[in-house]
């Protein structure tokens, strides 16, 4: 589903070029569960932003579902994010003035889904993350774990094929963190491709496939064959 070939990403910081990613080549098949690990500054967030089409590579080819993203315009990339990619962030990024249901509806609002259908799908997504009784609460009235579950409902409400999670447990206590991990792993088990960026080894090793970055270079790409039975991992490394 995802094919990165010879990806470079270079930033200018104070006039100095910083090479955040260097010659990254990576294939991720549909339904895989991949963790991207590395120290701070290793380029893992840059890689995630590229995968999510929030950013464009300086060089190299990124094909999403067989289509070259470099050839896409701003509108097509927005469309791709809207329909194919869900994001979960470390800091949740809920809109404070909207209720839980309102936040989940947000992607559908910008996609032009009619209100009645929006409400129904948002209710379903909230039910899926176990937050139906909290649907009319605002983010400030929810615990961290609940906020992250709202964010997950929002990420999957457009039924994307790829879920990108950036340190999804980084801002949560361990109990809430475990709930969140169970939730997104459950979605992966239902076929959603899951890419988790983390520097937390305990979270990272849960993925069947672990990609390690150091200084913008992929230094390891291991598939733990012992764990799980999904064939996605084999296809991915093939």
């Amino acid at each position: 589903m995802i094919e990165l070939a010879g990806i470079h990403r270079t930033f200018e910081v104070g006039g100095q070029p910083v090479r955040a990613l260097r010659d990254v080549t990576l294939r991720i098949a549909g339904g895989e569960y991949v963790s991207i690990m590395g120290a701070s500054g290793s380029g893992k967030s840059t890689l995630l932003n590229l995968l999510g089409c929030l950013d464009r590579p300086s060089a190299g080819s990124y094909r999403f579902g067989g289509e070259e993203t470099a050839a896409m315009g701003e509108l097509e990339l927005s469309n791709l994010r809207r329909h194919r990619i869900g994001f979960v962030f470390q800091f949740f990024h809920l809109v404070p003035r909207l209720t839980a249901a309102g936040n989940v509806e947000l992607p559908m609002v910008f996609a032009g889904v009619p209100p009645a259908e929006r409400r129904e799908r948002a209710a379903q997504a909230l039910a899926r993350v176990g937050l139906t009784p909290r649907a009319e609460h605002r983010p400030s009235q929810l615990s961290g774990g609940e906020q992250q579950r709202v964010a997950i409902a929002r990420a999957v409400v457009m039924r994307p094929s790829l879920l990108l999670a950036d340190e999804p447990t980084g801002n949560l206590d361990s109990a809430s963190g475990r709930e969140i991990v169970d939730l997104i792993e459950g979605m992966n088990a239902e076929g959603l491709t899951l890419v988790v960026v983390t520097h937390d080894p305990l979270l990272g090793v849960r993925a069947r496939r672990q990609v390690r970055l150091a200084d913008g270079v992929v230094v390891a790409d291991e598939t733990a064959g012992a764990r799980g039975t999904a064939s996605g991992a084999e296809r991915g490394s093939a």
Partner: protein, 401 residues
């Protein structure tokens, strides 16, 4: 994206900051209210002056001794080698058939005394035709008798009566004007200021008596009423011809038609209204800057939100839409507040000064709302585009680049 959703989302953004929203609404409101009030004042002034002149009757010619090149208004420099005399008036009455009435006017101020009570008033020397031309009403008694030009008789204004004859029937009483004695034969009904002259504060006496009283040889004005409005230009020419002939071939009398005076006033007051509207527009522009400022603050505060919107698939254009609709909503709301305030204050002013109507014209109200909406559009453009130009990645971590 549906427009109703865009609208709702933008309105939600404004509801999130009630104080800030109401302050910028107030800013636009004050701008719009001042546009409406000031144009209303200008329009009111125009209507007032127009109404005053209409009360003169529209078939009027005003003759002023002296001639300048200035058209439309009273001459600035009078060059009057020949007096405008009562004999000129008689000649005009005889020789210009289009004239229905003609009233000579001599002016002066004098102290009018009854016993020890004295009062400085305007003394108008004229004839009975003044009553008919100016449509004066008598409170009591009668006006100067027909064909009397020289007699010790006077008609007094309502306030002169109140001040000099408190609780006394003035008819038949004697007043002294300067050193001369006059018998009161009538009181003019209260009318107030009309065409710059307080009719309640005059004493009217026969014209020839007035000329002798003030030791003048020339009349101050001659009011000519023409039989029909269509005959006005023709009568104007005839009047000028007759007077030129009588004044040794010199055209030394200025003839004002009411139309000329009116259109001059209309022009002046139109410019005044435009100037007032311009001043008010400045405050509207300042309000626009206020909106821009508020929107810029809003963009920088909501950087995370903008990044999120982009991440969930909002296009740059949709982000522009969100912030533009917010700005237009803000300013249009201000426009409506301003229109209501302006009209309300206008009503209050009208109650306090019933003589001077504040009539904000319909076009000003409509323009105020449209302009305030456009102000939002114009001044919202920069912040909205700034929001859309944010790099989603940087915005998500709260950095503006």
């Amino acid at each position: 994206m549906r427009f109703a959703d865009l609208f709702q989302f933008a309105a939600g953004g404004l509801r999130g900051h009630r104080l800030r929203t109401s302050l910028s609404v107030l800013g636009v409101g004050i701008g719009v209210a001042s546009v409406i009030l000031l144009t209303g004042l200008g329009e009111g002034a125009r209507e007032y002056v127009t109404g005053e002149f209409a009360s003169l009757g529209s078939n009027l010619l005003i003759l002023i001794p002296g001639k300048t090149e200035t058209r439309g208004l009273a001459p600035l420099i009078s060059v009057a080698p020949h007096d405008l005399t009562l004999r000129d008036v008689d000649a005009l009455r005889e020789r210009v058939p289009g004239i229905s009435r003609i009233a000579p006017v001599a002016f002066g101020t004098a102290t009018v005394k009854v016993g020890e009570r004295g009062r400085q008033v305007l003394v108008v020397g004229t004839t009975r035709e003044m009553l008919e031309i100016r449509h004066l009403q008598m409170a009591t008694g009668r006006f100067l008798p027909r064909d009397v030009r020289d007699a010790p008789l006077c008609v007094i204004g309502a306030r002169v009566q109140r001040e000099l004859f408190p609780g006394v029937n003035p008819l038949g009483q004697i007043v002294r004007v300067g050193e001369w004695r006059f018998r009161v034969i009538g009181v003019i009904a209260p009318r107030g200021v009309s065409v710059g002259m307080d009719l309640d504060e005059v004493v009217e006496i026969p014209v020839e008596t007035a000329l002798r009283l003030f030791n003048r040889s020339s009349l101050f004005r001659v009011l000519v009423e023409v039989r029909s409005h269509t005959a006005l230009p023709e009568v104007e020419r005839a009047v000028i011809d007759v007077l030129r002939e009588r004044h040794a071939g010199q055209e030394d009398v200025t003839v004002l038609t009411q139309n000329a005076v009116l259109s001059t006033f209309n022009q002046i007051l139109g410019v005044l209204t435009a100037a007032l509207a311009g001043i008010a527009a400045i405050s509207l522009g300042v309000a626009g800057l206020g909106i821009m400022n508020v929107m810029l603050v809003s963009v920088s505060e909501r950087t995370h939100e903008i990044g999120l919107l982009r991440a969930v698939g909002a296009t740059a254009r949709q982000v522009v839409g969100v912030f533009l609709v917010e700005a237009v909503l803000l300013s249009t709301l201000g426009g409506c507040v301003g229109v209501l305030t302006g009209l309300g204050v206008g009503q209050v002013l009208e109650r306090i000064y019933p003589d001077f109507p504040v009539h904000a014209p319909a076009w000003a109200i409509l323009a105020a709302i449209v302009v305030s909406g456009s102000v939002g559009l114009l001044f919202g453009m920069l912040p909205a585009r700034q929001a859309a130009r944010l790099d989603p990645v940087q915005a998500l971590v709260g950095r503006q680049t």
